[in-house]
């Protein structure tokens, strides 16, 4: 027992020591490439410094050799040499410090990055003299048209969530759906649960159909547009409510209608009862006068008719 414990501790120590040398957040993008670096296509993006907080969006789909070029016109008193370096995701890239010469009234920083995997995507910044910065956000196309309001559905009903990639952006290779589980995302495999989930994929559109909803199906659903390099996510909230929710205001309105109708009918009945008692009294008087009154009424009404 003791021997096995010692072995375990020894192995853990070894692991920790070796782990220190593994830098997973290496800013230098050179993981073993699946494709020889030289055969990758080359893409160039240029940006000139315009102001603070400048962000350039770079959309990449497939592995590429991305050359980023930054130019800056400099201060009023232009020094001949300034320092510049590159950052990725806020961390300085090792060995990227350069001395930049003033050429044609501007300074130019350029570097080629090998974008071959998801790790290589991110925020690349070129920095002049630690003060002037241009950000390049290198990412796969993001899903733009997505519903921001939650989709409301009922228990037992079926809900459909749609994700669409705009026509102006490149088509994804495929689509994937995830359901949020706490902070994690679980992929939804429609083939495994055919009764409950159905995924219809079109080139630009994807639809997730959830059948036989239960309260547990509420939550965030993520649609992922899968590109070679990475997957861009969009999320939609699905809310499942029971029929009692709308039933409450409905019953309130029905009760209000019944009360109104009853009140109106009762009011009328009480009025007509009053009239009946009055009418009985008056009819004795009017019966004696009826022939004369009738003639009078007929004459007056016929005169009224002729006038109009």
């Amino acid at each position: 027992m003791l021997a096995s414990w010692k072995q375990l501790i020894f192995q853990i120590l070894l692991l920790l020591i070796s782990c220190r040398h593994i830098n997973t957040t290496s800013p230098d993008p050179t993981p073993p490439p699946l494709v020889p670096i030289d055969s990758l296509p080359r893409d160039v993006r240029r940006a000139a410094f315009k102001g603070e907080g400048q962000i350039e969006k770079v959309e990449v789909l497939n592995p590429v050799n991305l050359e980023l070029v930054c130019t800056w016109t400099g201060h009023q008193d232009k020094e001949s040499n300034i320092t510049g370096f590159w950052r990725k995701d806020g961390l300085e890239i090792e060995n990227s410090h350069l001395t930049v010469q003033l050429e044609n009234e501007q300074y130019q920083l350029q570097r080629v990055f090998n974008i071959v995997s998801e790790e290589n995507l991110g925020n690349y910044s070129c920095v002049f003299e630690s003060e002037v910065k241009i950000d390049f956000v290198v990412a796969v196309p993001q899903i733009g048209e997505i519903r921001d309001k939650p989709i409301v559905t009922y228990v037992g009903d079926s809900g459909m969530i749609t994700c669409k990639m705009e026509d102006s952006k490149p088509m994804p290779n495929t689509w994937k759906w995830y359901k949020a589980n706490g902070t994690d995302k679980e992929e939804i495999f429609a083939a495994a649960e055919r009764q409950r989930y159905e995924i219809k994929n079109n080139e630009r559109k994807t639809k997730l159909l959830v059948n036989n909803l239960t309260m547990a199906d509420s939550g965030l659903y993520y649609c992922g547009a899968v590109y070679t390099l990475s997957t861009s996510m969009g999320h939609v909230e699905l809310k499942v409510i029971t029929y009692f929710e709308p039933l409450k205001p409905f019953i309130a309105i029905v009760i209000e209608v019944i009360i109104l109708v009853t009140a109106i009918l009762l009011f009328e009945r009480s009025r007509s009862k009053k009239n009946d008692t009055e009418g009985d009294m008056m009819s004795d008087q009017t019966n004696t006068l009826s022939p004369g009154e009738n003639n009078g009424l007929e004459e007056s009404s016929s005169m009224r008719q002729r006038k109009t």
Partner: protein, 507 residues
């Protein structure tokens, strides 16, 4: 397109009428269809009421008291019928997504609803003639609510056609014509104002219902929202309950002296309830024809104005604002025209002709004002057009009593609704066709305006049109029937009217 403002929705909808530009603005088109269909019903609502009430009616409710309560009831029920129809466009977007159907198929729901309302109007009128207006309206309210409640349970699209379309449409048809006729029966001098006030509810309620429906759909999805709408529609029932049952002098006249149930007598009774004999009288047919021609052109601006102003180069919001402004002046026009007509300075038929001609002229000026490129010119003409079109709707109804008489008002209303509904079906496709052929809206608007003027000219052929005073009302129906019935009804008059008078005087 997922977050609409309440202005751009109707505007964009107008762009899509008749599914022509649907591919570009799917949600807007659906909404537009709704807006259009409900605007039709606006004109339908202006069914004229017979002026010559029975003697007992005049003595009972001279222009006040309970009449204004009924105006309030008509206000509420009209908003629940047409205001609701107009705002159903918000559901269309949800239906397209849920049922995965084209906007064309979804738009048929509102078309069915409106068509049912217009088709069943004579039925509503006939039932009121045969039985009690109160019962008919309350039943109509129940049916309208039931249709929407059942629609909330729909699992297929055709369920919606049957429930929201046929059942609710039947309910609406049973509600509208009887309520309008009853309100008109309660007024003599203030008819136009009463109607104008009541019909202003359409515009006002569509302003209120749009955000309300949006909120309901967001909170409860379309199923829950339809359920709640069904409950809201049930509010028509108390409105109907407010109608006081009165001894109708018409009922005895309508009842055949033959008591048998032979097919001939049944048919004769049905035709008398439906007032089919009106179709053989020249004044009524002339008037109906005039109103039908009016209807052809009336809705064209509602459908095409926004598209036209977009084409003329104005922005989405500018075009939408023009439409909203026209809608607001429409509401104002109804009330002002109602008040003005009742002052009695001019004959109603002359006022109607004036408003119709002006509306026609302004419709024809619309393309000219927008082509000149001036936004203020377009706005002014649209405001004027909105005012005139609202003004004429108040008056259209009240003229009919002058033509057909009080007794036949109910049936006349029903038949008029049915006949003029065809005009709406003709008008908008025609204008759309003209736009497709010529490439712009100038021809459509010109033709629409000319139809209105043609309607005025048709109405000018009515007898006694050019005299300064109203002609005598047509003789009472009872005197035209065979003598037995006539004497019978007159006797009933004599025995019933004092009693009913004293009953109501006591109130």
């Amino acid at each position: 397109m997922l977050s609409h403002t309440y202005i751009t929705q109707p505007v964009l909808c107008l762009l899509c009428w008749r599914r022509r530009e649907l591919s570009q603005f799917p949600e807007a088109c659906i909404f537009l269809l709704y807006l259009l269909s409900t605007d039709k019903s606006v004109l339908d609502m202006t069914n004229p009421k017979p002026k010559a009430e029975s003697q007992s009616d005049e003595a009972e409710d001279p222009d006040g008291g309970w009449g204004w309560v009924l105006v309030g009831a008509l206000f509420v029920s009209t908003s629940l019928v047409f205001g609701l129809m107009r705002s159903l466009g918000i559901f269309f977007v949800e239906f397209v997504q849920y049922f995965d159907e084209s906007a064309h198929a979804i738009s048929w729901i509102s078309s069915t609803g409106l068509a049912a309302q217009q088709f069943f109007s004579p039925l509503g009128a006939a039932l009121c003639n045969a039985y009690n207006a109160r019962v008919v309206v309350m039943t109509g309210g129940l049916l309208a609510g039931l249709g929407l409640i059942l629609a909330s349970q729909a699992t297929r699209l055709y369920h919606l056609y049957l429930t929201m379309g046929v059942i609710s449409g039947l309910g609406w048809g049973l509600v509208f014509t009887p309520m309008v006729a009853t309100v008109m029966a309660h007024f003599t001098r203030r008819r136009t104002l009463a109607l104008g006030l009541a019909f202003s509810s359409i515009g006002l309620s569509s302003f209120a219902f749009n955000p309300l429906f949006q909120l309901l759909v967001e909170k409860y999805a379309w199923r829950g929202a339809l359920l709640i709408l069904g409950g809201l529609s049930l509010n028509i029932v108390p409105c109907g309950a407010l109608i006081r049952p009165r001894r109708r002098s018409k009922a005895p006249a309508k009842v055949d002296s033959e008591t048998g149930l032979s097919p001939v007598s049944v048919l004769r009774r049905i035709s008398s309830y439906l007032e089919l004999s009106l179709l053989s009288e020249r004044p009524y047919v002339t008037y109906t024809l005039g109103i039908t021609l009016l209807n052809v052109g009336y809705f064209v601006p509602y459908f095409h104005l926004v598209a036209h102003s977009r084409q003329a180069g104005f922005s989405e919001y500018q075009s939408a604002f023009v439409m909203s402004a026209a809608g607001a002046s429409d509401i104002l026009g109804r009330i002002v025209s109602g008040w003005f007509s009742d002052l009695g300075h001019f004959r109603l038929i002359h006022l109607l002709s004036a408003w119709t001609t002006l509306a026609g002229v302004f419709i024809m000026l619309l393309p000219l004002s927008s082509l000149s490129g001036s936004y203020s010119a377009l706005m002014v003409i649209s405001l004027l057009y909105g005012f005139c079109s609202g003004a004429l709707t108040s008056v259209v109804f009240v003229v009919v009593p002058l033509i057909v008489g009080v007794e036949r008002m109910m049936g006349a209303l029903g038949l008029l609704q049915l006949i003029e509904s065809w005009a709406g079906l003709l008008g908008t496709p025609l204008s759309g066709f003209l736009k497709d052929v010529t490439g712009n809206y100038v021809a459509s608007f010109t033709v629409a305006g000319s139809f209105l003027i043609l309607g005025t000219l048709t109405m000018a052929t009515l007898p006694h049109y050019f005299s300064c005073t109203d002609p005598p009302p047509p003789p009472q129906r009872s005197s035209l029937d065979d003598k037995n019935n006539g004497l019978h009804s007159e006797l009933e008059h004599m025995t019933s009217s004092p009693g009913s008078d004293t009953n109501h005087r006591g109130v």
